[in-house]
């Protein structure tokens, strides 16, 4: 059984079909990439998966459970977290505070109002683990707004990771990261624990083909091709619609 599955997913904005009959199956532990040309509906699909948008039709199943009607924060608690293509950080908080917030929320102490943040060692231990994993130790006391872009991007992923998801959705994690900081970012993505299933939405073909063990191609809101990286790379239709287009540009 796939850990994350969509069945006949459809999203209509007025007269425009942004996604139609999307049947995506992500296997447990997979490194699955969702690619497609600009405007193919990748972001729509991720917004549907995470509950930011409600589908016009179709179902979404997480670990066999129907989450179509679950609110965004409930999906996080059910084990699915995401990052954003454009950083969505808490700019006035430090990485330490932001990650502390996520950890408190996940451990169910986020609504505690009579306890000072950081008075529980389970929380602080986990904060430290995440801070170290994402190489944020040296900047953990700086406001997120003042961090270099590469570090902000790491924090963006760290916030999702700190939710301890079983399915992690990465929306163009490397977008806009300067070459010098890129290596660090890719290394941390590579080092994500194997038991975490990753669905990667990406534009960057190098990253996709080095990282993914399965690729789905989305064109005009529908799944076009779905298969192993070699097969997708060889598929003439993909070359025509997607890779060909990239080469021309």
């Amino acid at each position: 059984m796939p850990i994350l599955e969509t069945i006949g997913l459809e999203k209509r904005f007025g007269g425009i079909l942004a996604a139609q009959n999307v049947n995506l199956a992500v296997e447990k532990g997979a490194r699955h990439a969702l690619i497609g040309p600009n405007g193919a509906g990748k972001t729509t699909v991720i917004n549907l998966l995470t509950g930011v948008l409600k589908p016009t039709a179709g179902r979404i199943m997480l670990e066999g459970r129907d989450i179509t009607d679950a609110a965004p924060h409930q999906r996080v608690r059910l084990g699915m977290a995401r990052t954003f293509q454009i950083n969505q950080l808490f700019l006035d908080l430090t990485p330490l505070e932001s990650i502390g917030l996520v950890v408190s929320e996940r451990l169910g102490t986020g609504a505690d109002w009579w306890r000072v943040v950081g008075s529980k060692s389970v929380v602080t231990d986990e904060i430290v683990e995440v801070v170290e994993r994402f190489r944020l130790t040296d900047v953990m006391h700086e406001r997120a707004a003042t961090l270099p872009y590469g570090k902000q991007r790491l924090l963006e992923i760290a916030l999702a990771f700190a939710c301890r998801p079983r399915v992690l959705l990465l929306d163009e994690p490397a977008a806009g990261v300067p070459e010098a900081e890129r290596h660090e970012l890719l290394a941390t993505i590579e080092a994500l624990p194997a038991e975490v299933t990753v669905l990667l939405i990406e534009h960057d073909m190098d990253l996709v083909f080095s990282f993914a063990d399965r690729i789905s191609v989305l064109v005009n809101g529908t799944l076009f091709v779905d298969g192993a990286p070699e097969d997708v790379a060889r598929d003439p239709r993909v070359k025509a619609v997607y890779l060909g287009e990239e080469l021309d540009a």
């Binding site: 505070e97 943040v117 008075s119």
Partner: protein, 360 residues
């Protein structure tokens, strides 16, 4: 191999640092302690000013309630007077009819009534933009004012609620003519409420509110139930506003329709514009400045003092604001530098102690 042992030995120290740092966020600074010592010293320092001091304390508590939702959750409101008024009438009525005789219990109850009312109306303000919120909150307090006017048999209507007789506090301290006990009572209530508010904003719940205010989209994406957090803080703030309203009725033994007035809610915004939002002391400092400015101008020019209040506000908003923010930023910067220096001093020590600190 080397690197693994290095991380293993470093992590507990880092964990201790993190715990210490997070705990220090909520520690009382010397400036705060000085503020409260001065506030309580005012009981002996200004015995001839009890009346205005008492009004200031009530206004400060009321402004604190708005700061909780505006400064920490980003909810703008022109309707805090609704909760102030509901609790004001509630505490007046329970005293008048002898339902609850002890003022402190009556005050807590009026806070709870206002909080319950806040909870019910919170669902109206969750939707929409700032402008919608302003209109909805304003509308609610206007409606309540008119309801109080309509049911004059209960509220006394335009004449106000007469015959309110407030029993001594804890059966011992009467509300005396000079206002001494009244002021001490208000100041203690303000302090207790402030400590609770302070505790709230430094808790994980308070941190989550700042996250919601900063980025509601991301807050939901890390598992925060945004809607319920806003409902919770709106309810708590309503309770605080209610306690302020209850204090006014208890210390004046009177309650009139003006508790619901737009002026009252608008004054709060002015107080927070003067004092600033999002650091809890804005409402307190703003209330002191606003009240004493008002008092001073009223003695200088009894007829036209509102002109000068207006002018001062225009000046503050247009000219002074950036400058004042500059001062605050500079002060904060030097505090952070000071904190940073203390931090580097603590660091090697905590490294040496290692496990000992970890246990805390």
């Amino acid at each position: 191999m080397d690197t693994t042992t290095a991380t293993a030995s470093q992590t507990p120290v880092l964990a201790a640092d993190v715990a210490a740092y997070l705990k220090r966020r909520g520690r009382w600074s010397p400036l705060e302690i000085a503020f409260w010592i001065f506030a309580f010293a005012s009981i002996w320092l200004f015995p001839d000013k009890y009346l205005i001091l008492k009004d200031t304390a009530i206004l400060a508590l009321f402004a604190l309630s708005l700061d909780l939702i505006l400064g920490y959750a980003g909810i703008i409101s022109l309707g805090q007077a609704a909760f102030f008024g509901v609790a004001g009438y509630f505490s007046g009525l329970v005293a008048k009819y002898g339902i609850i005789d002890e003022p402190i219990i009556a005050l807590v109850c009026s806070g709870l009534v206002a909080a319950a009312f806040g909870f019910v109306t919170s669902f109206l303000v969750l939707r929409g933009s700032d402008l919608t919120r302003l209109m909805v909150t304003l509308g609610v307090s206007l409606m309540l004012g008119e309801i109080a006017n309509r049911y004059a048999n209960i509220t006394g209507g335009a004449d106000g609620l007469q015959g309110v007789d407030i029993a001594p506090i804890l059966g011992r301290w009467n509300f005396d003519l000079y206002g001494h006990n009244g002021y001490v009572y208000c100041l203690i209530v303000l302090f207790v409420c402030f400590v609770i508010a302070r505790r709230i904003v430094y808790s994980p719940f308070g941190l989550s509110l700042r996250a919601v205010k900063g980025n509601a989209l991301r807050a939901a994406a890390i598992g925060i139930p945004v809607k319920w957090r806003l409902v919770a803080i709106y309810t708590i703030a309503a309770g605080f506003a209610g306690i302020a309203g209850g204090l006014l009725t208890q210390t004046t033994a009177f309650c009139s329709l003006d508790v619901f007035s737009l002026d009252r809610s608008a004054d709060l915004l002015l107080v927070l514009i003067i004092g600033g939002t999002g650091y809890l002391y804005g409402g307190l400092i703003g209330a002191v400045i606003y009240k004493f400015l008002q008092d001073w101008l009223a003695t200088l020019t009894p007829q036209y003092w509102q002109f000068w209040i207006g002018l001062v506000l225009v000046v503050i908003v247009l000219v002074g604001r950036e400058r004042v923010e500059g001062w605050i930023a500079a002060a904060r910067g030097s505090l952070v530098r000071l904190g940073g220096r203390a931090w580097t001093r603590i660091r090697p020590r905590s490294a040496a102690l290692g496990g000992a600190i970890d246990g805390s």
